[in-house]
Symmetry: C2
């Protein structure tokens, strides 16, 4: 696997990664609002803060390079907003599963993609994006709910499998394509295999069959 | 003005203040979601992080005193959730005005109330609640919008005046009442006068007549 050869450009990388973290933040904040209990709101707070923090650090990197970070992010807003609506889910549990599973895939992807960035931004971006302690609380909330209602587990297993395709499309859109589409595909393939393997481990952690 | 004589109890103080900061966070996060532009989303991010940070620090203080901070906060959830729905406003601009104006009053109030807390928690709570750099961005967003549409200014002036009554009711509910209702009223009166004076200055800053 050598994603480094895909050499993403720095500004689009930061702009898309920053807007994706903002979308993850909004999804978590929405889950806070819709939480059935104060305890659940409370449990989700750190995950919201973590996504917002990643967003702001990535915007900080943009601000060192351009006057107007929003304009760099805005190019990605329509596609990401549409994606966010698709993965929102039909209830609070599907929303929680979406946040945990899709943020997992996207963080993994942008960490891998960072290895191809030129300059010292790559390791810094990888380090800031790879933090995910806040989302551990979502696993607890979902495990508790599935333990009480096994039919929820079947529903979320299906939902978790459905999320992968749309999420990999977002990842694919972040890759700077060379003139050789066939070579690109050969490079992307093992990356996606790795992302799916990690997704399957997250599904396992929720007791769901991937 | 001597609010210190009202001596709030520490746990209800922290529980209510923490849940109010969570409600402020949710209101800001909702405004992020409903922002018409990426630039506006971006501008609101720090205010969201600030409210969430205050909430988590207050919860941290609760956690040093009780096993289950959520149970302390939960007592205040119905009243605050109801208040949050009342002050939500009918559009994005009213929501922004509500956040800026009501969070201003409530932060001022809990800072004043902190002076009556026993032990070293008072100064610490006052210091952490009094931070409000993030909300400065809301003033810019509203000033820009009012400059473009003066009728919005008239509408928000009315809305800003309407918010005061409900917000002071929330503040009043935080005060530990003694057996002497008349004495309490005498003590509360100058505090509310001070809160309203500061509210009027915030209205002025928005170019609105209080």
């Amino acid at each position: 696997m050598n994603l480094a050869e895909l050499t993403p450009e720095v500004l689009p990388y930061l702009g898309q990664a920053a807007y994706i973290q903002l979308a993850i933040f909004e999804a978590i904040a929405r889950a806070v609002m819709l939480s059935p209990t104060v305890r659940a709101k409370e449990a989700l707070g750190p995950a919201a803060g973590e996504a917002l923090g990643k967003h702001e650090k990535l915007v900080g990197e943009l601000r060192r390079r351009v006057d107007d970070p929003s304009s760099v992010m805005a190019a990605f807003a329509p596609a990401i907003d549409n994606y966010a609506a698709v993965i929102r889910g039909s209830d609070w549990y599907e929303s929680l599963a979406s946040i945990y599973l899709t943020a997992g895939i996207l963080d993994d992807f942008f960490v891998l993609l960072a290895t191809g960035l030129e300059g010292d931004i790559g390791p810094r971006a990888a380090q800031l994006i790879s933090v995910e302690t806040g989302r551990a609380a979502i696993v607890v909330l979902l495990n508790d709910a599935i333990a009480e209602d096994p039919s929820l587990g079947s529903r979320l297993a299906l939902w978790g499998r459905r999320l992968v395709g749309d999420t990999l499309l977002v990842a694919r859109s972040a890759i700077h394509h060379t003139e050789n589409a066939r070579t690109d595909e050969e490079r992307i393939e093992p990356v996606f295999t790795e992302l799916i393997a990690k997704h399957s481990r997250r599904m396992d952690g929720l007791g769901l069959t991937a």
